[in-house]
């Protein structure tokens, strides 16, 4: 019933959900089976344009682009998802505790977060990768930490406005402890903005993950990632444009799906924005 209301008359929600599920299914297929071995080089078949054999053509090493895209989908989606999850976990915990407790604890936390937020997200991620080293977990840690302050601020400001609501006082007046009040009444009511922000962060994370892979600081080659495939395409794009087109389209469509879905979600949960 809730879903019906959400999707009804919302073309962006429908397209967004469709695109996202398409790529999630692609990622699942990539985990089970691919038409060709995504890392197997075949010099005879290099830079082949799309054909019935290789639907999306082959790259400069003769690897099948479709197979690489399917496996890359899994990498990109899981890394983005895990880094958002990591940021959400840290952000909700710190934000809720800080906003609810207030006082010097809150001031201290906010000062540290302000300092972290003074670094551009991608640059901070780069700095962390410089220390932690590239690779899947390096990227997840770097992006997760880079996005934590944003989530924390949103949660904290939600908690601050919730604290003004009388049901928090009501809970305390019933004799509930602070921890109980926080977990039972405060945190669940923060979830709406957190979900909205998490969705838009997923898009940012996907973009940053691709950028890092593009720079060669993500999952190391020969494992395929969308960003890495784009980076490799640079030199060959003028003669074999499909190497640049397909990974780019994959990233764009996933971003489009996330953005459309996220917008619809925000409109639905924050009725202010649709003017009714």
């Amino acid at each position: 019933m809730i879903f019906q209301r959400f999707f009804r008359k919302r073309i962006n929600a429908k397209i967004g959900a469709l695109l996202l599920s398409f790529f999630i299914i692609a990622a699942l297929i990539g985990t089970i089976a691919t038409p060709y071995d995504p890392v197997l080089m075949d010099i005879r078949a290099r830079l082949k344009p799309p054909s019935s054999e290789h639907w999306f053509g082959t790259d400069q090493f003769g690897r099948d682009i479709l197979s690489r895209l399917l496996v890359g989908a899994r990498e990109s989606l899981t890394i983005s998802f895990m880094s958002v999850l990591c940021a959400l976990g840290l952000g909700v915990t710190i934000g809720a505790a800080s906003g609810y407790r207030g006082g010097s604890f809150d001031r201290g936390t906010m000062a540290v977060l302000d300092a972290v937020m003074a670094f551009p997200g991608l640059l901070l991620a780069l700095g962390i990768i410089a220390v932690a080293g590239p690779g899947k977990w390096g990227v997840v840690t770097a992006l997760g930490l880079a996005y934590t302050p944003g989530i924390t601020r949103v949660v904290r400001s939600t908690v601050l406005s919730l604290r003004e609501r009388e049901f928090i006082d009501a809970s305390r007046a019933l004799g509930n402890s602070d921890t109980f009040t926080l977990l039972r009444h405060v945190v669940p009511n923060c979830m709406t903005p957190v979900i909205v922000m998490g969705t838009s962060l997923f898009a940012t994370a996907l973009l940053s993950e691709s950028a890092l892979a593009f720079l060669g600081l993500g999952v190391p080659p020969p494992n395929p990632t969308w960003g890495g495939m784009l980076a490799e395409s640079k030199q060959f794009a003028s003669t074999a444009i499909w190497i640049a087109i397909f990974p780019g389209v994959a990233i764009s469509l996933t971003l489009l799906g996330t953005n459309l879905f996220g917008d619809a979600l925000r409109d639905h949960l924050d009725p202010r924005m649709n003017g009714q």
Binding site: V116, A118, I129, F214, A237, L256
Partner: protein, 313 residues
């Protein structure tokens, strides 16, 4: 005014200090011995110990931090392991390149995005609004580095209209310099345009719903007056804040584009340093960006009262 400025300044100092500590800590977390990196692969334990003493690595962490901040405050950001030149010089050389691109892109996108967002908000839920929002969603979904690849392939290689590699400073040759900037600015423009349009739209929608807008209409004022005189000043203040944040972030965030277009900016400096494990440069760039960010936001805060008289001077 003076008191307000001083208070803002006082609030910015802890951010700088904490960010400094953060960078310091990050650099101490680097696996391996920094002294070893300077000395290189030479098998000379004596040299390593000498270098350690020279770098102050044998002292306590607090002492190290104090020494470190002292030298940074005196403008010494260390020397690059790779080139041997002072980090400060390298940053000073690369910063103008980055600043040019970011400032041009931000300027262009603000003069388009702010009115566009206001119009979308004014005609909320109309087909025009849906179109504008759809356009921003589309822009947000194209990664700038992908657009860079396509632009390079099309205009650089296939059509040969624009130079693909290298950079000429605009101060040396205005026209030629501008040619090198067209593609990076275009690639950056779209996402920035989208972000700012959305921000401008959202804050205008917030303002247009308020009673004083209805009251302005109830006086008989025309829509143009309502929009520009009553909505704009109030909607612009939050947009200004976002603009400040965006500017600060972009200055460090155009890493990928600089690599793509082989521009000798700060982003490329940083990437090169990461690959070369040239930590003094990484540290220098991070510190510089933070300082820049704090200064820009201080400037925005000081401008703020001009748009919102409720902010106490």
């Amino acid at each position: 005014m003076l008191s307000y400025s001083l208070r803002r300044l006082a609030l910015a100092l802890p951010t700088l200090l904490l960010a400094g500590i953060l960078v310091f800590a990050l650099m101490r977390l680097v696996p391996g011995d920094p002294a070893l990196m300077f000395v290189g692969d030479v098998d000379d334990p004596e040299a390593v110990i000498r270098k350690r003493a020279e770098l102050g690595l044998d002292r306590s962490l607090i002492e190290q931090f104090l020494l470190w901040s002292g030298s940074i405050l005196s403008g010494d950001l260390g020397t690059s392991v790779k080139t041997g030149s002072p980090v400060a010089t390298e940053i000073a050389e690369s910063f103008p390149v980055t600043a040019q691109i970011v400032l041009i892109a931000t300027f262009l996108s603000s003069i388009i995005a702010i009115p566009l967002g206001m119009i979308a908000a004014w005609k909320q839920n109309s087909s025009l609004d849906v179109g504008i929002v759809g356009f921003t969603t589309f822009c947000l979904s194209i990664p700038s580095f992908w657009m860079a690849v396509i632009l390079l392939t099309m205009f650089g290689v296939n059509l040969g209209w624009l130079p693909t590699v290298g950079y000429v400073s605009m101060t040396e040759n205005l026209l030629e310099g501008a040619l090198y900037l067209i593609m990076p600015v275009t690639a950056l423009l779209f996402t920035e345009l989208a972000t700012l349009t959305r921000m401008s739209r959202a804050s205008t929608i917030d303002v247009l719903r308020l009673d004083y807008i209805t009251h302005a209409r109830a006086k008989g004022l025309g829509e143009r007056t309502v929009l520009w005189k009553h909505a704009f000043p109030n909607a612009f203040a939050p947009t200004l804040t976002v603009l400040g944040l965006l500017l600060g972030h972009l200055l460090g965030g155009v890493v990928v584009l600089e690599t793509m277009f082989s521009l000798p900016g700060m982003g490329r400096l940083m990437i090169g340093a990461i690959f070369a494990r040239d930590y003094p440069v990484v540290q220098g760039v991070l510190l510089f960006i933070v300082m820049l960010y704090v200064v820009i936001n201080l400037a925005v805060d000081l401008l703020y009262p001009a748009f919102d008289p409720r902010v106490k001077l």
